[in-house]
């Protein structure tokens, strides 16, 4: 048959009773795409919608491509139903429904997170003529965003702007918070918002009945549903800027005098930073320490005054970084912060412990010899760090991390004792070292502010590299000093300002220093680096 009939020219009539009918007037199915992440309840939302439609006798179909995407990856659920239980001649319709959304032909897009919403818009699923977009603006950060050495989070503004432009109607808000507040999950809140848009031909009661029929966590789901419904009905939520808490104005008597001094001696623009800074430093060490801080800033204030720039950028930036540097993290500070009553309350709230439950807080410490020596007076610290039997023994003893239970008497008293070392801090090895570096840095800023103001600003900004504990701190300091060592070269270079910025950013790109090394190699500055080390 297959190969045995060469050059056959007449054919058996092989047409079965084909269904040929003129297409009837179009009744369109309603198309709904749900973009979520695995394990977020997108499937539940799809099931509710299918149930809602079938309850009215509407033919419905849903599908998804879960695969391994269930492991927190992007997942898309797709539902279609025909809003018609019987056609004109009374027969139940048997629609052919699609298994995937068509860009430009999706009635409703539900997104459970801001970036997933962006993905829906980018894929063209949201179109201005058709689509009602219901999106939660909460963030589940991508690995790239989370693992950045600084702030790798994307700017949400373009997402909202793009969605506004792309959708016929755009309902958005933080449905995750809404759900949490009502003790439920995001799918219930989004389902409520979907009902609230009125984009589906069902009443609120019908929506709620679908939740009841599913029979899981009905009461809390209905509460979250109601909250979502209201959000959709009352229009888009006002855009709340990311919560950056203002400086807590728990000014105490002692700080008042200092606040007045700041107001009198420093430009208003630096007020917020300086007030926050003196509180931090007074808390960190003492009022006198805060005064030392203001004293160190005086020359920079004068430089900005002379330039007549009312924004005083150099003063403000340096003030911020100097405050952070002067309150460098050490064992004493950590112990001090860990034992506070306010901290206990915060943890209690964060882990949602109830009144009748007992809460224990266990800290993970790994103080190594370096940190211990750092805390001690210079002579003692130096002694410990001297190579020899003592050092080896101590290094062995500190090779493992420790878990301290702060809520136990023993643990608390231990940390209380360490925190009490605050008084001796200015005599410590670390203090001497940090302040020497600090003064060096300030001197570089001051020296260059007159002739190379932009460069001075960049030098100030480099303090950003120095943060963290242990290896992280050591790495940051190494990079900081490397750039400091390159300053003469940078100053001699026409695009020195751009280069110092590039160096700083490269240093923040990866832990291994690959980017930084590559950059220096590109400029043929690698030898200088070695010299600087």
């Amino acid at each position: 048959m297959h190969n045995t009939m060469p050059n056959q020219t007449t054919f058996t009539e092989a047409r079965y009773a084909g269904e040929s009918a003129k297409p009837a007037p179009q009744v369109r199915p309603i198309c709904i795409a749900i973009l979520a992440m695995g394990g977020e309840g997108g499937g539940v939302l799809a099931d509710w919608i299918v149930d809602l439609a079938e309850q009215q006798g509407y033919p419905a179909q849903s599908t998804s491509v879960p695969g391994v995407a269930q492991r927190t990856g992007t997942t898309i659920y797709y539902v279609e139903f025909l809003p018609q239980a019987a056609s004109a001649n009374g027969h139940a319709p048997a629609p052919v429904l699609s298994l995937m959304p068509v860009p430009g032909d999706v009635d409703i897009v539900v997104a459970s997170e801001l970036m997933e919403m962006g993905r829906a818009v980018q894929r063209g699923l949201v179109s201005p003529g058709e689509t009602t977009l219901v999106a939660s603006t909460n963030r589940v950060y991508s690995m790239t965003e989370k693992s950045a050495m600084g702030d790798g989070r994307v700017d949400p503004a373009p997402f909202i702007a793009a969605a506004q432009k792309a959708a016929k109607r755009f309902v958005y808000g933080d449905f995750a918070v809404l759900a949490e507040r009502n003790g439920s999950v995001i799918s219930a809140a989004l389902f409520g918002a979907l009902a609230g848009t009125g984009a589906l031909p069902f009443s609120r009661e019908q929506f709620e009945a679908a939740i009841r029929r599913a029979g899981v966590g009905v009461d809390s789901s209905l509460k979250a549903f109601g909250a979502g419904f209201d959000l959709a009905q009352n229009g888009p939520a006002p855009q709340t800027p990311a919560a950056r808490p203002a400086v807590v104005e728990r000014t105490q008597g002692l700080l008042k005098a200092m606040d007045e001094r700041i107001a009198a001696e420093f430009p208003a623009v630096a007020g917020t930073v300086l007030k926050a800074a003196v509180r931090r430093l007074a808390d960190y060490q003492s009022l006198a320490y805060a005064e030392l801080y203001l004293k160190r800033l005086a020359p920079l204030r004068d430089i900005d005054q002379r330039r007549g720039d009312s924004n005083a950028p150099l003063l403000v930036e340096t003030a911020r970084y100097l405050a952070l540097w002067m309150s460098y993290e050490d064992t004493v500070r950590v112990a001090d912060l860990k034992i506070r009553a306010t901290r206990f309350e915060r943890v209690n709230k964060e882990v949602k412990a109830k009144a009748d439950q007992v809460l224990h807080i266990n800290e993970y410490f790994h103080p190594r010899l370096d940190e211990i020596a750092d805390t001690l007076p210079v002579w003692l610290g130096t002694l410990l760090m001297r190579p020899g039997a003592l050092r080896n023994a101590l290094e062995r003893a500190t090779s493992k991390g420790r878990v301290v239970r702060t809520t136990s008497l023993r643990g608390f008293l231990l940390l209380y004792g360490v925190a009490a070392l605050r008084g001796t801090r200015p005599k410590s090895l670390r203090y001497q070292r940090e302040h020497a570096e600090m003064c060096n840095w300030l001197a570089h800023i001051e020296q260059n502010a007159g002739s190379h103001y932009a460069m001075a600003l960049e030098i100030a900004e480099c303090q950003r590299l120095v943060k963290g504990y242990g290896d992280t701190h050591a790495r940051g300091m190494r990079n900081f000093k490397l750039i400091e060592g390159l300053l003469p070269k940078l100053l001699a270079n026409d695009d020195g300002v751009s280069r110092i910025r590039q160096l700083r950013e490269a240093a923040l790109k990866d832990e291994e220093g690959v980017q930084l090394a590559t950059l220096l190699q590109g400029w043929n500055w690698s030898d200088a680096t070695l010299a600087a080390h």
Partner: protein
């Protein structure tokens, strides 16, 4: 215990004649098997048919009632070999696995099966994982059907069609003595729909009948000269018989006006997509009624020449819509028409892209092209809904490449430190996007969100430890395997160079077996892959060839990536299977002497030290580390309800979770780079002087302990704390708490008097 339970849904399998069955595609397939009087079912899990295996496992009782034997096979090859039962006996049998990964594994028995042919209906249900959601290579089962001359069904994606295809497949198999493959596309597997049920059928001839009266026929065994006869049989007997059956039963379908001057030839699985495209240009109504001639190949292989030629008679042109490559059907269509000198023009991959998913948009574009050429009077472009037209319009668009991606590339390849920066620098890519451009302006920085390790996953700390070891003693060649552990190739771990297949992690490093260096390779294998074939292909092979390298077996107690099914070494008790057999014994059994078992993968320091030892020890010979901790997804499903129950009964229950003190966190995120847990995220820095976000632990934390271990092992920061929340505390709990609180409270009040903080 599988991830998803179908205990409730499987009751639908008892549906009687005439009842409406509503449910997922996989459930419908199971029902169709029972309606067909199947005697035995076997298979191996994997997306998208994992749920089919789970349904079958959960339906064990119902199947036993009907005398149906179900097996979770050791591998796809085992499953395919199971069909041998249908060679000599009139037993209907079905197997299922993921294509084409599974079909590759099953290739050997499938060749033998199809050579000798079958007496009872033999059905191979493959979950075709092509395109979106595909997790393994993008290949086609079609090639397997062609090379073994098995018939391939690709039914229209609606439940009545799928159910009919299952039933007819058995008949086709018996009519042509040939095994039949039924292809379930990924979306059809997970599709919710309806069909009218029929009664389940108890097989007339049972497994017991066969075992009690064994029979054999040497002419069915693949040995010369019988095997030469088989080839002749395939072409001259079974093929014509299949064609005859397919025509008689009208397995392929025709729609539209038979006298149309042009038409569409499509795979059954493409039907809904093609109809949607026709609906959008107003050439089909909502029920799929259309005047456009359609030849729907529910049988994708073999091609039925008469049907095709009949369809093409009087047509100037047809458009072949065949997803996937190479375009096997299109080539055959051309051959078939040219052989009889028919001049119908065949379009296909000249109008459609050679690669990728045939989405509705892709099909629509081809249809517009086709109708513009052959039916310009239809003016299909004008009929398009406005939104769709905008979406179709190809516009040049510059997609900005994120600068961060360069950094990722660099961190992914630290050994390439010397690569010129230009190679890593972001280059804007010009592409033609099928999306209206104005929509993309302003530009959103949308990141990919690939799947990754779950919250509290016991595998993550293994890779953290591996990262730490490599920091100490340098980079090693790492050979990966298939399984959840493959997520280690992604950020933040960036580990692994190749993955050659399921259970082939160690086999993939076989070449690196030389005495010229003391540096060893690391291979990864999951417990699923280990029992699938890794014990022989990897461990046995390494012993035999005197390998000096290191294998890490990730033993999480389940075939986790496919949905948590039980395997030989599962910790769970399973009424229908034997579990709890230790991997260590198997490894030692094939001759590995250096074996370390780590029973708590969360202990990063131990894990790191053991890895270091394996990589540096003077002992020669293969080294195997078995890293055991239960899959957290499964564990939580087991433990959470139990904890709730105990707490409800007033018993003492301790819940643990981690937290980060934002006033000591400096926003460096080393912890995230070493852990990557979904529960470990970032939030705005509450400190007004700082800008970088601080790390935070989300409420979803299950308190696995990795955060603390990482902080210790990598000497990170002291910001992590572990909270223990005790419900129903004992009297002793309360008393010691009261005493501590009295003293602590007093001291805290004293401290507060000198606090000048913002906190």
């Amino acid at each position: 215990m599988a991830e998803r339970s179908f205990k409730k849904e499987v009751q639908k399998l008892r549906a009687k004649e005439g009842e409406v069955f509503a449910g997922e595609g996989i459930l419908a397939v199971t029902k169709a098997l029972l309606q067909s009087g199947v005697s035995y079912v076997a298979g191996y899990q994997g997306s998208p048919i994992s749920h089919l295996m789970d349904v079958l496992a959960d339906a064990s009782d119902i199947m036993e009632e009907l005398g149906v034997h179900f097996e979770s096979s050791a591998s796809e090859a085992t499953a395919a070999a199971t069909l041998a039962a249908s060679v000599n006996y009139p037993l209907r049998g079905a197997i299922t696995f993921k294509a084409t990964a599974g079909t590759n594994v099953a290739s050997d028995p499938l060749s033998n099966l199809s050579s000798g042919g079958v007496t009872g209906g033999a059905l191979i249900i493959v979950g075709e994982d092509y395109g979106e959601g595909s997790s393994i290579m993008q290949e086609r089962s079609h090639a397997f059907a062609m090379k073994s001359q098995m018939w391939l069904l690709d039914p229209r994606p609606n439940l009545p069609s799928i159910v009919r295809a299952v039933e007819k497949s058995f008949e086709l198999s018996e009519a042509s003595n040939t095994p039949v493959m039924l292809q379930m596309r990924i979306r059809a597997c997970h599709m919710h729909g309806h069909f009218i049920a029929r009664d389940n059928v108890r097989p007339a001839f049972t497994l017991a009948d066969a075992m009690n009266k064994p029979s054999r026929d040497i002419s069915r065994i693949v040995l010369p000269p019988a095997s030469f006869v088989h080839e002749d049989e395939k072409i001259n007997k079974r093929w014509p018989a299949a064609v005859e059956f397919i025509r008689r039963e009208q397995l392929n379908e025709f729609f539209g006006d038979p006298d149309g001057a042009d038409g569409l030839v499509i795979q059954g699985g493409m039907y809904n997509t093609v109809i949607r495209a026709l609906q959008l240009i107003g050439l089909a109504d909502v029920e799929g009624n259309t005047e456009v001639p359609l030849y729907v190949m529910n049988v994708a292989y073999p091609l039925i020449d008469e049907e095709l030629r009949g369809f093409c008679q009087g047509k100037a042109a047809v458009l072949m819509i065949e997803e996937g490559q190479p375009e096997f059907i299109e080539q055959e269509v051309n051959t078939s028409l040219r052989r009889v000198d028919m001049q119908t023009r065949v379009h296909g991959k000249d109008f459609l892209p050679r690669v990728g998913d045939y989405t509705t948009t892709v099909v629509l574009k081809a249809l517009v092209k086709f109708f513009d050429r052959y039916r310009p009077e239809l003016a299909v472009r004008e009929r398009l809904p406005e939104g769709v037209r905008a979406a179709l319009a190809p516009r040049p668009l510059t997609i900005p490449v994120r600068v961060a991606s360069a950094a990722e590339m660099a961190s992914a390849a630290p050994s390439q430190a010397s690569a010129p920066v230009a190679a890593l620098a972001p280059v804007p890519v010009k592409v033609t996007a099928p999306v209206a451009m104005e929509v993309l302006d302003p530009v959103m920085d949308v990141h990919a969100r690939p799947p990754s390790f779950c919250t509290g996953c016991p595998e993550r700390p293994i890779f953290t430890a591996m990262k730490l070891v490599q920091r100490e003693i340098g980079a090693h060649h790492i050979s990966c395997d298939i399984g959840c552990h493959l997520f280690s190739i992604l950020p933040p771990f960036n580990l692994g160079a190749t993955t050659m297949g399921y259970g082939l992690g160690w086999a993939g490093a076989s070449a690196f077996n030389t005495t010229e260096t003391s540096r060893r390779t690391i291979s990864i294998m999951g417990d699923g892959g280990f029992w699938h074939n890794g014990l022989t292909s990897g461990v046995g092979n390494a012993v035999f060839n005197k390998s000096d390298n290191v294998l890490v077996i990730i033993d999480n107690g389940y075939s986790a990536a496919t949905g948590g099914q039980d395997i030989l070494s599962s910790k769970a008790e399973n009424d229908h299977r034997i579990t709890n057999l230790p991997i260590e014994k198997a490894v030692r059994g094939v001759g590995v002497e250096w074996v370390r078992v780590i029973t708590n993968t969360y202990g990063i320091a131990t894990m790191r030290d053991t890895l270091r030892e394996a990589l540096t020890t003077k002992v020669s010979g293969p080294k195997v580390i078995i890293a055991q901790s239960e899959c957290m997804l499964n564990k939580q499903r087991r433990v959470k309800p139990l904890m709730r129950k105990l707490a409800g009964e007033g018993k003492r229950v301790v819940r643990e979770r981690f937290g980060v003190d934002s006033d000591t966190c400096t926003g460096d995120h080393s912890c995230i780079r070493l852990s990557g847990c979904p529960s470990l995220s970032v939030k705005d820095n509450p400190d007004p002087l700082r800008r970088d976000p601080v790390a935070t632990v989300l409420d979803s934390c299950v308190g696995c302990g990795v955060c603390g271990e990482v902080a210790h092992a990598a000497v990170l920061c002291p910001s992590f704390y572990r909270a223990q929340i005790i419900s129903n505390p004992t009297r002793l709990d309360k008393l010691s708490k009261r005493v501590a609180t009295a003293v602590i409270g007093f001291l805290q009040r004293r401290l507060a008097t000198r606090e000048l903080s913002h906190a």
